[in-house]
Every structure is written in structure tokens, then in C-alpha cells.
């Protein structure tokens, strides 16, 4: 287990290296002179030359990469060309709303998906089973963005229960925070709920037919308890493997949701910076998102081994 953890930690290094190469290339894969693109057509050659100098665009590519990477490693992601603030500072201040949104979304996701999966498995022999099957089929065939728009129209416009824009930090009160964040978090979660619920349901149905389930029933334990305790605990293990993909889905989704609901998060920072051709910020944000993704996957892998005592004690 310890050995595995160390090996898994080390494996992050090459992944992050490849990611940083790609992020670095963002600037250089864009056709044309980056300085010209950043500053626009009507700029004096002097200004362009200055910016080229500032961004180090005159050095050979590998020197540029090396310089950039050594800065990144020390935690310096450069300075925004647009606002002239430090990129790390921008990311830090924009990450809070994103973190709020993703955390709430994750909580909603689990709070909906877990009971749903348990209910579906518990009621599998009743008349409700075909209803569940058709609902989940419907859920799979409805496009996510369409459902999202429908939810916004439904609860933001037609029945204006929730605001459709804005963000209030948690420090200004739990109520206001939740009030503004609930709809976007729900819209973000609903897309992933199906994946988790389905995976959990399939794993539980598999676990229901295992011998240890029969043993538990033979002891005289309530069917519901067997389901919630024995079956669920085992089904959780394979389900964690899709959690990484879920977080990736949520991360990707936030970019859209933040724009849709004008939440000043990482996603909006990214979109705005792309519009402004603010390359240092774009690079910083992409690198940051990639790092989070890698980190989450690392945690999920470790969680997986932790949940399964057969692996934990080897």
C-alpha cells in the first residue's frame, strides 16, 4: 500500500511534465506573432518589440520553455498582460467561486445519485422497476445542455425561484450563498448524476447476487439493511473509479455554467482571458485545471485502495 502510494505519487511527475509542454505550446501553436495578436493590429512596432522582449519571444524555443518551466516550478505563473496582476493571484481569487460551485455540485450529485441507486436496487422486483428503467433511458437520451437550459428556464424564468445570475461569497452568509449557487450547482450536477447512479446501480446488482449477501440474509438481517450495509459498501469500490471522470466532467462543466450564470470563477477567467488574448493567464489557468484534475485522480486512486481492505493490507 505504501509502496503503491509512493509509486502513484511519482507517476504524477511525467504526466505534469507533458501537460506543461502542451500548455507552453498554446502560445506557440497559435499562428502569427503572439505579441501582435495580444496587442492587436494598430500597434506601433516599438510596442510589439517591447512585448516580445517582455515575453522572451526572441529566445530559442527550448530556452523559452526552460525559463517558463523553472518559473512555474517556483510558483510563478507570470503576469497578466491585460490587468498586469499576478496570474497566481487571479487564479486564487477566482478559484473560490469555482470551488464553491464544484463542492456544492458534488454534494448534490452524491445526495441524489446514492439514494436513487439504492432505491432502484431495492425496488427492482416491484412494479416500479420498468418505470425506473424507462426514466433512466429517457435520462440517457436527453442532451445535457438541453436539460440545463430547461432547468434554467423552469426555475429561473418561468418559476423565478432562483436567480439566474450572480454570486455571493460564503463569507456574506450561508443563505445568500446557497440561494445563488443552488441552481447552477444543480444544473452542473444533473449531467453527472446519471453516470454515478448507473454505475452504482450496476455494481449493487452485481453485489446482490454474491454469496456474502446470501450469508447476511441467512443471518436474519433485514433486507434493507443488507442492501445499505453489505451491498452498498462493496458497490462503492468499483464506483470510485468513475469519480475521477466525474470531477473532470464537473470541471469542464463549470466553464460553461459560470459563463451562463455569470459566476466570477476560474471558468469565466479562462473565457475572458481567451477573448483578451491574455496568454499568460490562459496558460496559468489551463495548467491549474490540469493539475487539479491530476490531483483528484490521484486522490480517487488512493481512495479506491483504501476502500478495499484486500488491497489496503497488501
Amino acid at each position: 500500500m505504501l509502496q503503491y502510494t509512493i509509486r502513484r505519487l511519482l507517476s504524477v511527475i511525467p504526466v505534469m511534465f507533458v501537460v506543461s509542454v502542451i500548455v507552453f505550446m498554446i502560445v506557440h501553436l497559435t499562428p502569427g506573432n503572439p505579441a501582435l495578436i495580444i496587442l492587436g493590429e494598430d500597434t506601433s512596432p516599438k510596442a510589439i518589440a517591447d512585448l516580445e522582449e517582455q515575453l522572451g519571444l526572441n529566445d530559442p524555443l527550448y530556452i523559452q520553455f526552460f525559463n517558463w518551466l523553472s518559473q512555474v516550478i517556483t510558483g510563478d505563473l507570470g503576469t497578466s498582460v491585460y490587468s498586469e496582476r499576478k496570474v497566481t493571484e487571479l487564479i486564487f481569487s477566482n478559484f473560490r467561486p469555482t470551488f464553491s460551485l464544484m463542492s456544492l455540485s458534488m454534494i448534490l450529485l452524491l445526495v441524489i445519485a446514492i439514494p436513487a441507486a439504492i432505491a432502484i436496487v431495492a425496488l427492482r422486483k416491484t412494479v416500479l422497476d420498468p418505470i425506473f428503467t424507462s426514466v433512466s433511458l429517457l435520462g440517457v437520451s436527453i442532451p445535457d445542455f438541453w436539460l440545463a437550459i430547461l432547468l434554467v428556464l423552469g426555475f429561473g424564468v418561468a418559476l423565478p425561484v432562483f436567480p439566474v445570475a450572480g454570486y455571493v461569497p460564503l463569507t456574506e452568509g450561508m443563505g445568500a450563498w446557497l440561494y445563488h449557487l443552488l441552481l447552477p450547482a444543480f444544473v452542473l450536477a444533473i449531467v453527472e448524476v446519471g453516470i454515478i447512479a448507473r454505475m452504482l446501480r450496476d455494481s449493487m446488482l452485481e453485489s446482490v447476487n454474491q454469496d456474502y449477501t446470501k450469508t447476511a440474509l441467512a443471518k436474519g438481517i433485514k433486507e434493507r439493511e443488507v442492501l445499505v450495509r453489505h451491498v452498498f459498501a462493496n458497490a462503492l469500490i468499483p464506483t470510485t473509479t468513475v469519480l475521477g471522470a466525474t470531477v473532470a466532467g464537473l470541471l469542464g462543466g463549470t466553464v460553461i455554467i459560470e459563463t451562463l450564470f455569470t459566476i466570477p470563477g476560474i471558468g469565466q477567467l479562462l473565457i475572458d482571458s481567451i477573448h483578451r488574448r491574455d496568454y499568460p493567464v490562459v496558460q496559468g489557468v489551463v495548467l491549474f485545471i490540469a493539475a487539479i484534475y491530476v490531483l483528484v485522480n490521484l486522490l480517487v486512486d488512493l481512495l479506491y485502495t483504501f476502500l478495499d481492505p484486500r488491497i489496503r493490507y497488501d
Binding site: K125, N209, Q210, D211, Y212, K214, T215, A216, L217, A218, K219, G220, I221, K222, E223, H230, A233, N234, I237, L307, D308, P309, R310, Y313
Partner: protein, 330 residues
């Protein structure tokens, strides 16, 4: 204490209805040991599960028959009554110790769960009881083993844990479904010994299922031979071994490897019949070395063959004896 009366268990599959148990009648007295023998697929496990109504429904249905435990019909019990029956009056040890324990919970937790299922008691007391049970089934150092996970035990030790779990509420009947099949030969003997000791200490009746007549020979008071979902011979262990009255039992006996025996093991030729479309006459006729023309048309019932001895065969004892010598010598 247990009475099974003309029990039918059907399994609804996509190929048709499997008549896994097809009219079985027998009873077990308190403290008695009964063995059920039969080939793979003869319906032993389905029958055993029926005693606690543990067959998954669907596919299982119980179209006919009754299972009485202390004069209460198990097949008509509601959920609460079933829960009270399971583990409390009737307990079960399953075929495969490797998969019968929940891999993600500590052995102690699983034991305590069983202990608490029927009589709530303080945590500490339940834990002490769990340790005592583990000691009773011969697990060394039970105080610390209680905190181990199932994968940290060997197969034989896991089967001991499962037996301990079955004893948690001191049931009146212990059903052991091939408790030794998945184990090494030396471990098999130990587990069988343990069952004997347990019976002494706890005074439970035991229903032991196996496809190996050798296993029940040393353990059972009475033996029930199953073939294609039916009982084909039923009698005391003496009856079954020395006054065999049914060709299938005789074939099974010939296939036991006996220590130091010179003769070769003789497996039973052919396949058991389809349980979806059973043959018209005697189920065993296609494989029977004694079969006559009549066997193809007559489906024999269990008939008495002496005191408490029953067999389903149209051959009389004397006919059977004379043909037996013929077949054995050829």
C-alpha cells in the same frame, strides 16, 4: 423439528421452467444428523435454501408443498417471521467459504452483526460472545483475529468463521451446504470433526449436503439420496451402505474412492436428465445399468423397503441382488 412435505421448487429461466425440487418429503428430528447426497445439479442447494426461503425470487417459485419448522410453514411466513427464522432457528453454512464472507468488513463485525440480529445486547457482551464463538470453532488467538479481514484467513479458517457465525444464535438446525467441497482433503476432515463437536456442544440438528458419500458415512444418522430434484432413496446410513436398494445409490457407492482399495474408481456414465423436460419413465433409466423395458414407462414412487428405508425403483430386493452380482462381475 423440520418437516418437508411434497415440496416443489421451480426456477423460471429463459429456457423454460427448471423443476429443481420435484416433490420432496422428509423430516428431521431434534439433534439428528441427516446427509443429502447427489450429483452436481440434482437440486441439493435449491432444497437447502428453500428451508429458509433463501432462493432468489425470481427465478424461484414454490408452486406446491410445505416446509414446517416447529409446525410453522416457512413458505407462508411474512418478512418479519422469516427474519426470526433465519439464523435464529435455522442457520446455514454455505458451499464456498472464499466468497461467503463480506470482503470489506472485519470478521468480528460480521460475527457481531449475526449475534445482535436476534438478541440485542451491549457492545462489549456481543464482542465477548464473538470471541467465544471463534474459540469454539478452533480459531487460534480469537481476541486479535476478530479484527482481521476475511482475506487474511485461509479457506479452512474462513469456513470455521462461517460455522461460528451460523452458531451465533444457537440455532436448532444447522444446514451445511457442501461445507468441505472447496477445501483441501486434510482440512475437510478437520471441518467435519468440528461439525461433530459442535453438535455435541450445541445440540443442534445438522443437515449436511454433499456429493461425496464418504463425507456423510462418518457423520450422518440417516442419508437422503437425491437425483434430478427427487429423493430416490432414504434410510439409515446402514441401510444406504449395506442394504442399497436403488441403482443410482449403488453407482454412487461404487464411485467412492476407498482407502487402500484395489478396484478402480467407477464414475457414473452419462449426464443427469434435463430438469426442464424430464424423461417419461424413471429419471435414472437412461444411465441405469439395471434398466429394463418397463423402466422406460414407469416412473417409480418411493416405496418402503423395511423399517424407515425407502427407495424409488421397480426392482425388488431379490431381483436387485441377483443383477447386482452380474453387473459387478462384468
Amino acid at each position: 423439528m423440520l418437516k418437508v412435505d411434497n415440496l416443489h421448487v421451480h426456477l423460471d429461466t429463459s429456457d423454460g421452467i427448471v423443476k429443481a425440487v420435484d416433490g420432496v418429503t422428509f423430516s428431521i428430528e431434534a439433534g439428528e444428523t441427516i446427509g443429502i447426497v447427489g450429483e452436481s445439479g440434482s437440486g441439493k442447494s435449491v432444497l437447502a435454501h428453500s428451508l429458509m426461503r433463501l432462493n432468489p425470487e425470481p427465478p424461484a417459485t414454490y408452486p406446491k408443498g410445505k416446509v414446517y419448522v416447529n409446525d410453522r410453514n416457512v413458505l407462508q411466513m411474512n418478512k418479519k417471521e422469516l427474519r426470526h427464522l433465519r439464523g435464529n432457528q435455522v442457520a446455514m453454512v454455505f458451499q464456498d467459504p472464499m466468497s461467503s464472507l463480506n470482503p470489506v468488513f472485519k470478521v468480528g463485525k460480521q460475527l457481531i452483526e449475526g449475534i445482535q440480529a436476534h438478541r440485542k445486547r451491549p457492545k462489549k457482551e456481543a464482542k465477548e460472545k464473538a470471541i467465544e464463538l471463534l474459540r469454539d470453532v478452533g480459531i487460534p488467538d480469537p481476541e486479535s483475529r476478530i479484527d482481521s479481514y476475511p482475506h487474511q484467513f485461509s479457506g479452512g479458517m474462513r469456513q470455521r468463521v462461517l460455522i461460528a457465525m451460523a452458531l451465533a444464535s444457537e440455532p436448532k438446525l444447522l444446514v451445511a451446504d457442501e461445507p468441505t467441497t472447496a477445501l483441501d482433503v486434510t482440512i475437510q476432515a478437520q471441518v467435519l470433526d468440528l461439525l461433530k463437536q459442535i453438535q455435541h456442544k450445541y445440540g443442534a440438528a445438522i443437515l449436511i449436503i454433499t456429493h461425496d458419500l464418504g463425507v456423510v458415512a462418518q457423520l450422518a444418522d440417516r442419508i437422503l439420496v437425491m437425483y434430478a430434484g427427487r429423493i430416490v432413496e432414504f434410510g439409515s446410513t446402514q441401510d444406504i451402505f449395506y442394504r442399497t436398494a436403488m441403482p443410482y445409490t449403488w453407482s454412487l457407492l461404487r464411485s467412492i474412492p476407498t482407502a487402500g482399495a484395489k478396484r478402480r474408481l467407477i464414475p457414473i456414465d452419462g449426464q443427469p436428465p434435463s430438469l426442464i423436460h424430464p424423461p417419461k419413465g424413471c429419471n435414472f433409466e437412461p444411465r441405469c445399468p439395471f434398466a429394463t423395458d418397463a423402466c422406460r414407462h414407469i416412473d417409480p414412487d418411493l416405496e418402503p423397503r423395511g423399517d424407515g428405508h425407502q427407495a424409488a425403483c421397480i426392482l425388488s430386493a431379490s431381483e436387485f441382488e441377483s443383477i447386482k452380482e452380474e453387473v459387478a462381475s462384468s
